[in-house]
Amino acid sequence: MKTSKGARAGQYLALLGYLVFLAFPFLWLISTAFKPARELASLHPTWIPKDPTLANFRQAFDEQPLLRAALNSLIAALGAAVVAVVIATPMAYVMARHRTLLAKAGTGWVVVSQAFPFVLVIIPLFLVLKNLRLINSLPGLVMVYVVWALPFALWMLVGYVRAVPTELEEAAAVDGAGRVRTLVSITAPLLAPGIVATALFAFISAWNEFFFALVLLKTPEKQTLPVVLTHFLGAEGVADLGPLAAAAFLATLPSLVIFAIIQKRITGGMLAGAVKS
């Protein structure tokens, strides 16, 4: 289709506007993270640090237990991702292949759970976990993250299962393979990339999660990275900008890297789930 020169110029101008809007806060975060204290105190901040330094990163690790927090986040996110995918995959398979009441109820739950205000769930969960002595414990948090990650894990996986042609499974059944056998030897290998993408997405979501971690984890040595990051803000909101930026930048890197790798698969999976059900 032809587009006039004027319209083209307008389009590029709009694109430039979007690029600036999307990029500038992130560039500012990076710039702040590498600025020495002297430059941060200057009343006329500059985009590029004149005297870039890693001092903020060192100071961030000195001020807060960042390594411990990162390890906690890793345990919580990894646990949530693995458990969620292991239990979601068979259920997603049933939801994708059977038009039963169970499958419909599953889909209904996936949709409704998107509208839960967490406060209505967190208070009873808090009480339940308290009785189980799972407050301030990573296993308790993992349990919550698993259920929290299940709706979108199911959603994505249903899409991936639908993309596997039933003919392959039928052929295996003809050859005498039972249901579980068919699932393990035919469907699972074809689903593997989708399962990995779903697990990585669950990992990022748990890695980034804040509200449940804030409520359930009480002591600094148990807390995850997002919760520990807020300690940099201080009681009165007075923050040590350099270390704050440095720590925030570090906390983002794992999600950014993973997301960059799987971004296409995620949108593909979500759309497959959305379009076909």
């Binding site: 289709m1 319209a7 389009q11 590029y12 709009a14 694109l15 690029l19 999307l22 990029a23 500038f24 806060p25 500012w28 975060l29 941060l40 009343l43 979601a88 259920m91 049933v94 059977h98 009441l101 169970l102 739950w109 509208a115 839960f116 205000p117 967490f118 406060v119 209505l120 769930v121 967190i122 208070i123 009873p124 009480l127 339940v128 349990m143 919550v144 698993v146 299940l150 039933t166 003809v174 249901r179 980034n208 804040f210 509200f211 409520v215 997002p226 990051l229 807020t230 940099f232 803000l233 909101g237 900008l241 704050l244 925030a248 906390a251 983002t252 950014l256 997301f259 759309l271 379009v275």
Partner: protein
């Protein structure tokens, strides 16, 4: 091949196909249980428990002597002006974020659907807000808004647009300032959804419309929008709910301040439950939030669906 083998094959084939239409068999239950049990115990159960709590005087530290108090919490809520203030702020915030977010995302999706150079850069950048922890998004924008060391005020000073101000602490500027962050944070996800919707629109329709002499705006109204509408409707409804229920971003940016001007309902309920220990009362708030949001959404969806029938 003997007749027996052939028969057995066709029977197996038939049962293999028929398996898909069978009601839930034991195999299906076996596959569903690992997910179903946690869902029931940690999601559906707590939700029902939470609804029940709304009718009790449950407080932290004395759960043993919790009493059933009927609708007393709801009567108290009716007169709680602080709650209704936060509810009003929550609606302002949800609309204030959802509408610009949608319009900007639509613009960006239409751009990225064109054959433009550098559009890969926009796609790559769009990952950043999406992949970031909300806490980091909040921290990042606090650095941008910082009255002295922030880039926003410095840019305004450079452009000669006043001496800048403390955006997040000003009574009038705090809510608009956090809304801008909300729009920034949610735009990519909306863009990706709309872009996918656009790519499902058949190109031939566009070309046919262009041949008929339809301009860009006309083509958008007659071809693009009708195809995009279901996706747009779904994403807008979801965004509205997500935004109304959001917590981390504003908790980090302003923690509800100044003077409660950005105290979203979730922040209010969180304080009520986990600072003041009023579990029953906070559960009642959650209940009211769900109820009102459901009604608003139902009205909106029915309205939009009716609009579809008229068209």
């Amino acid at each position: 091949m003997t007749l027996a083998t052939a028969t057995r094959r066709s029977v197996k084939q038939a049962t293999g196909r028929g398996g898909d239409r069978r009601p839930v068999d034991h195999g299906a239950w076996f596959l569903v249980l690992p997910a179903l049990i946690p869902i029931l115990v940690l999601s559906v159960g707590p939700l029902l428990y939470g609804i029940a709590l709304a009718f009790t005087d449950a407080q932290s530290g004395r759960t043993a002597s919790t009493r059933w108090i009927g609708v007393l919490n709801f009567q108290d809520l009716l007169h709680d002006t602080l709650f209704w203030d936060s509810f009003r702020i929550g609606l302002l915030w949800a609309v204030g974020v959802t509408v610009p977010q949608f319009l900007l995302a639509l613009g960006l999706a239409l751009l990225l659907n064109q054959e433009l150079r550098f559009r890969w850069l926009a796609r790559a950048l769009a990952i950043v807000p999406w992949a970031m922890p909300e806490v980091v998004v909040g921290i990042m924008w606090r650095l941008v808004y910082n009255p002295d060391a922030g880039i926003l005020n410095e840019t305004l000073r450079d452009l000669g647009l006043g001496d800048g101000r403390d955006w997040l602490s000003g009574l009038g500027t705090a809510l608009p300032a956090v809304i801008v962050v909300g729009v920034w944070a949610g735009m990519p996800q909306t863009t990706v959804a709309l872009l996918a919707g656009l790519q499902n629109t058949p190109r031939e329709l566009h070309e046919a419309a262009a041949m008929d002499g339809a301009g860009a705006w006309r083509r958008f109204l007659t071809v693009t929008w009708p195809a995009l509408r279901p996706v747009a409707l779904a994403i807008t409804a979801l965004n509205f709910i997500w935004n109304f229920n959001s917590f981390a971003l504003v908790y980090v940016l302003t923690n509800g301040g100044p003077g409660g001007r950005t105290r979203l309902p979730m922040l209010f309920a969180y304080e009520e439950a986990f600072r003041y220990g009023q579990f029953g009362y906070a559960a009642a708030m959650g209940f009211v939030m769900v109820a009102v949001i459901s009604v608003i959404l139902a009205v909106y969806l029915v309205g939009r669906l009716r609009g579809d029938e008229d068209a």
